[in-house]
Assembly symmetry: C2
Homo-oligomer: 220 residues x 2
């Protein structure tokens, strides 16, 4: 099809142009696009291939299975999430940094709900089968933990051990995103009180800050 185009357009300096151009990336793009439109559950590898303009078996020269392709889409998602968090992690004030991290996290989740579900769904591409996925997630967690340790070092946050409160923070924000996606349409009103995504997020962040600053209430 693009017989002469490869000569006229030698943009791929390395080895990115194979037979049909960079099929691996094209498949990933197509899969992500189709996931965003129709969800993960109904995704068909054959349609991904058709969408990329190749035959049904072509993807198997770049991915071991449909699950492996989905895992790579999820890995890209984690990379994007880490990029967003990193941008927010430069803020020096601990509370402002934590608020920025939370906002970046929620923004990523609500802007990429399908990919977010794929990343944390564990039904498709489980972390046991694809350990690089777990590693990508841990990288995001490290940014959060660094922010907690930063606040602890300055005496703004309680304690001196960052991993446990970091996990509690992650739980809160992850739960917020999950519930906002699954159960709260943006205009929902409950018992006469409007529940906007913004107010839900403000309440969760208030919980997080209160938890980070406060003393323990329950034993241990």
């Amino acid at each position: 099809m693009t017989d002469r185009a490869d000569i006229l357009d030698p943009m791929a300096d390395h080895r990115d142009h194979y037979h049909h151009g960079n099929l691996r990336e094209a498949l990933l793009d197509a899969a992500e696009c189709m996931i965003v439109e129709s969800g993960v559950a109904g995704l068909s590898l054959r349609q991904v291939a058709k969408h990329a303009g190749v035959s049904q078996a072509a993807p198997y020269h770049h991915f071991a299975s449909k699950e492996a392709l989905l895992a790579e889409v999820a890995r890209r998602g984690f990379a994007k999430l880490v990029a967003g968090l990193s941008a927010a992690a430069t803020e020096p004030d601990p509370i402002a940094r934590m608020a920025g991290l939370g906002a970046a996290y929620v923004q990523f989740g609500l802007e990429n709900p399908a990919v977010y579900r794929l990343m944390f769904g564990a039904e498709f591409c489980p972390t046991e089968v694809f350990p690089e996925l777990k590693e990508s997630g841990d990288r995001a967690f490290s940014i959060l933990m660094e922010a907690v340790a930063h606040g602890q070092a300055l005496g703004v946050f309680w304690g001196d051990e960052p991993s446990t409160p970091s996990f509690a923070v992650w739980s809160s924000v992850h739960g917020l995103v999950s519930l906002l996606m699954a159960r709260v349409p943006p205009e929902k009103v409950m018992h006469g009180v409007p529940m906007t995504h913004e107010s839900m997020m403000a309440a969760t962040m208030a919980f997080i800050i209160a938890g980070l600053r406060g003393e323990r209430v329950l034993a241990p």
Copy 2:
């Protein structure tokens, strides 16, 4: 097969014994059992039917589709969750009640991870298609909101509007269960600190109590 068994065993007083006995419940039981063993993604309706001892098309006389059967399994899960929460909701002390609700919620999630994922996954049986699922979830939320309002009425919890902080509580606990299931094996050690499910839960509950008691830190 059970030609005479129906006569020898007339336990089903109402109309529960059709051709093969109560196939609807048998299918639900088989599906739940198979989901627990192998997850939702790989579940096959044909295997569910075979597991129940009927042909491939038999389920369609009791459920409109595979998704509808899964939705009913999820609905049963919500009923079980509500039962567990209700038992913990009798405690009069607000903080103890909240801790009990959290423990009951986490216990349900960790004891039924596959069904929990189905309930909140939103990939299979979405709430838009099965509104009774949403209703079941709202019933669980009401128990939590009642507990928050109870604490607010006694002046133990901050504020006088229960739905927003209740949502933050739900977020935290839901996120805790999700992350414990997906990313934290029970024996995980992170940066030299052992992260047990119990310590993660204690930290999250401390956050929740602190958030419920404390003043707002961020501007709403």
